[in-house]
């Protein structure tokens, strides 16, 4: 095998691996990326039922209702629009009314967001910045004076 052929093998393998990687990344990008919306954006975008996304906002006070088993319903608000959420499972520590929450799941035709995971990010110090920012943008952010 000449030096040229050796180099050919090396470059060929490298290109094959890179090609595979690029293909995988593009494929995965199309299928496994989840957008992040606030209730207002959900209302604006008129998402088709069955769309998967992350919903961020505050848990509206007085809306947390536990029904049979570990099922729980609550309303997520960005102080402009509300969106009802249903979730079956154990809520994270520091899931509280009036606190920031991020839920991932699917919007169903009944207008309810069926979450399969709920993340509550700690106290006011840890308000998810993406929410704080959107709330600020809408002029409804109460800041860390909520203590």
């Amino acid at each position: 095998m000449t030096r040229k052929q050796r180099r050919g093998v090396l470059i060929g393998t490298a290109l094959a691996v890179l090609g595979l990687a690029v293909g995988l990344v593009l494929f995965a990008m199309r299928d496994s990326i989840v957008f992040f919306y606030t209730p207002t954006e959900v209302a604006e975008k008129q998402l088709a039922p069955g769309t998967r996304f992350r919903l961020g906002g505050l848990v509206e006070g007085g809306t947390v209702v536990r029904s049979e088993g570990t099922n729980v319903r609550f309303v997520v608000t960005d102080r402009a629009k509300q969106l009802p959420v249903t979730y079956t499972g154990v809520l994270p520590d520091l899931f509280r009314e009036g606190q920031g929450v991020v839920a991932e799941g699917v919007m169903e035709a009944d207008g309810v967001f069926h979450a399969d995971s709920v993340l509550a990010k700690h106290d006011e110090k840890y308000m998810p910045p993406e929410i704080a920012e959107k709330l600020k943008a809408q002029g409804v952010w109460r800041g860390s004076d909520a203590k």
Partner: protein
């Protein structure tokens, strides 16, 4: 007073670091041995001064001196001593001091133990190392002063975030940072070689132990973080493909590639340019990890606008070092002489493939981690790239690596015999396949690919054992001769065995727990019971309890298996009084089959509690595998050729690129 001493020491260290950067570089330019030699005491002094500052900060934490802003924000008088100590690096300012402390420690180690290095190389290495120190000390002094005073001093502090009050997490950052920062050695050596304009096999021999040490610490650091997330976050998951995790995983992948390419360079004097580039990339990824975690950019690209000075400063440091090193690389690398040609099927060829797959996998993680940031800053659209993306891109790149991995050590340098290697590995492949098929037949659920995943892990372990067996000729000579051969094997051979076998254990653990994990989410009233994976759990109710700095509500569970009592588990929910924060403490029953993992949640209606029970089969193998990999690194580090150190370069400047064997 102690705090002021610390602050002063930090500023002095900055001054010393500047000297350490400028004078030796000037010395190598002007061939002035005295100027070059200044690097040694400067590096040692820089370390002592930073150690003094670090000691002062730690004293402030231990004595709960709340007149310091960082102590007030991150500590409390009632906190246990261990967490007062770990509180030092549990926050931005303190963790940056730890960062420069480790950086200076590595610099001082080269200064102290590097007396067999050529003086120019040592001067350049220490100068580059010093310049990194300058950048980060400047960053601390200008934007993140840990010794900021409060007047009047508050009576008690805010405490440390309770989820961080944990033994595994107390030691996670020091290991992780030793890993991150340890790669700075490879970087400094690479840049020094580029400044010098020459590089040889001996260079690789000097760089390898530092890289190996950094890699070991990073391995353990990542494993500790994963272990902590597993039992502390209450979800029973071991890896979340969270950007913070990826930030530490990328340097690990690149560092693993670097270890292997440095091997080729050391033995065969080939892949020199690539190894240099990889050294630069690895430390660049470490810098990027520091930037991602420290700037707050991860939660939102606009978050670092909250504290623009810090984010912009680290971005500047990153730009300077990565850009500078890469510019130097494009300018000087063509000057380096290439050596050592090899056939595609050879040890070198296998290691090139290893590098190709590792760096590509690293690039895939890079894209997944940074794409959301890029998209948000360009379009304002927020997306999350989660586990599905990484599973889909990372796994297909790593599986081929695992399949070809056992072949690597079997192939000879320069020109290997693929057929011979395949013959010797037939037994390993057969065992792996039989185990996979047996599991496929025995399990009724889970993806059909999973048994083959287990097979891959077995293939790695037996393949690694086969390599040793072949080298000592187990099936050809008598036991006495085998023993003699075993004792004569270099320790690095056992290092390879442990590292590759440990990876196999990780693979088995990851596949088993991902594919066959069982989960129950229930609302249980006292007296009710649940069944999972052959265990019978009875919920006996809850009890309040008082800890040193928290109150907790403990769920009481008694566990039986086929009627026999196995364990009583007490998961709890803790309320931390000072921090006004709560955590979930999982209770875990460990057996050789796997972990029984119980979490108790909120009170529901009619006296019931939400309870989550998991059975995670073989999950311990993941961390055990990481520990074995760490031990592999340690054994390899004790190998004679590294312990004794690299021999002197043969010849003088006139005869470069020749190393004594």
């Amino acid at each position: 007073m102690i705090a002021e001493t610390g602050h002063y020491a930090l500023i002095l260290a900055l001054g010393v670091a500047i000297l350490q950067t400028v004078l030796p570089l000037w010395g190598t330019r002007t061939r002035d041995p005295e100027l070059m030699a200044i690097a040694v005491p400067a590096a040692q002094m820089q370390f002592l001064l930073i150690a003094l500052a670090f000691g002062a900060l730690m004293t402030a934490y231990i004595t709960s001196d709340f007149s310091l802003a960082t102590v007030w924000q991150n500590s409390a008088a009632a906190k246990p001593l261990l967490y007062k100590i770990s509180g030092v690096w549990g926050n931005h300012e303190g963790s940056m001091v730890l960062w420069v402390l480790i950086l200076a420690l590595f610099g001082a180690a080269v200064a102290t133990f590097g007396s067999n290095l050529p003086p120019e190389l040592r001067a350049n290495v220490l100068a580059v190392q010093g310049s990194i120190g300058v950048a980060f000390l400047l960053f601390i002094v200008m934007t993140s002063n840990p010794f900021l005073r409060l007047d009047p001093a508050p009576l008690d502090g805010n405490g440390l975030n309770p989820v961080l009050q944990d033994p595994a997490l107390a030691f996670h950052p020091p290991f992780l940072y030793t890993g991150y920062v340890g790669f700075s050695m490879a970087f400094s050596f690479a840049v020094a070689a580029l400044i010098d304009g020459r590089i040889d096999a001996a260079w690789a021999r000097w760089v390898r132990p530092w890289t190996l040490l950094a890699w070991m610490c990073l391995t353990i650091g990542i494993a500790m973080g994963s272990w902590w997330a597993y039992y502390e976050l209450g979800w029973g998951g071991f890896w979340f493909w969270d950007p913070v995790e990826n930030a530490s995983f990328m340097p690990w992948l690149a560092g693993t590639a670097l270890l292997h390419s440095a091997l080729v360079m050391e033995k065969r004097d080939a892949l020199k340019v690539w190894t240099l580039l990889l050294a630069i990339i690895t430390f660049s990824l470490s810098l990027m990890g520091t930037f991602l975690v420290r700037s707050g950019v991860l939660t939102s690209v606009h978050a670092f606008a909250v504290d623009p000075a810090r984010g912009a400063f680290i971005l500047g440091i990153m730009g300077l070092f990565i850009g500078g090193a890469l510019t130097l690389f494009t300018w000087r690398a063509p000057l380096l002489k290439q050596g050592g040609i090899f056939a595609p099927i050879s040890r070198e060829g296998a290691l090139v493939l290893n590098n190709l797959l590792l760096t590509t996998a690293c690039a895939a993680v890079f894209v997944g981690t940074l794409y959301p940031l890029l998209l948000e800053s360009l379009t304002g659209e927020k997306i999350s790239v989660g586990a599905p993306f990484f599973n889909l891109t990372f796994a297909p790149l790593i599986v081929p690596l695992i399949i070809v991995l056992p072949f690597g050590p079997m192939l000879a340098w320069k020109r290997g015999d693929a057929l011979g290697a395949a013959q010797r590995l037939t037994a390993a492949a057969a065992v792996a396949l039989i185990i996979a098929v047996a599991i496929l037949a025995a399990t009724k659920r889970g993806p059909w690919l999973a048994p083959f995943g287990i097979g891959l892990g077995v293939w790695l372990i037996i393949g690694a054992l086969t390599e040793i067996a072949t080298r000592v000729r187990v099936f050809e000579v008598g036991p006495a001769e085998v023993w003699r051969r075993l004792r004569n094997l270099p320790r690095s051979a056992f290092g390879t065995l442990l590292a590759h076998g440990g990876l196999g254990m990780c693979v088995i653990g990851i596949v088993a727990t991902t594919a066959w994990r069982e989960e129950r989410i229930l609302a249980l009233k006292p007296g009710e019971a649940a069944d999972i994976a052959g265990y019978h759990l009875t919920f006996d109710g809850v009890a309040p309890r008082q800890g040193p700095n928290y109150r907790e509500r403990v769920g009481l569970f008694s566990v039986t298996r086929s009627g026999a009592a196995v364990a009583s588990l007490e998961p709890s929910k803790r309320e931390f009084t000072v921090e006004r924060n709560s955590t979930t403490e999982a209770a875990i029953h460990v057996s050789w089959r796997g972990d029984l993992y119980v979490v108790v949640g909120d009170a529901l209606k009619e006296g019931a509690y939400s309870v989550r029970i998991y059975f995670n089969p073989l999950v311990r193998l993941i961390w055990l595998g990481a520990v074995v990999m760490f031990m592999g690194g340690a054994v390899s580090l004790s190998d004679r050729r590294l312990r004794v150190g690299a021999p002197r370069r043969a010849g003088s400047r006139a005869m470069p690129a020749k190393a004594a064997a």
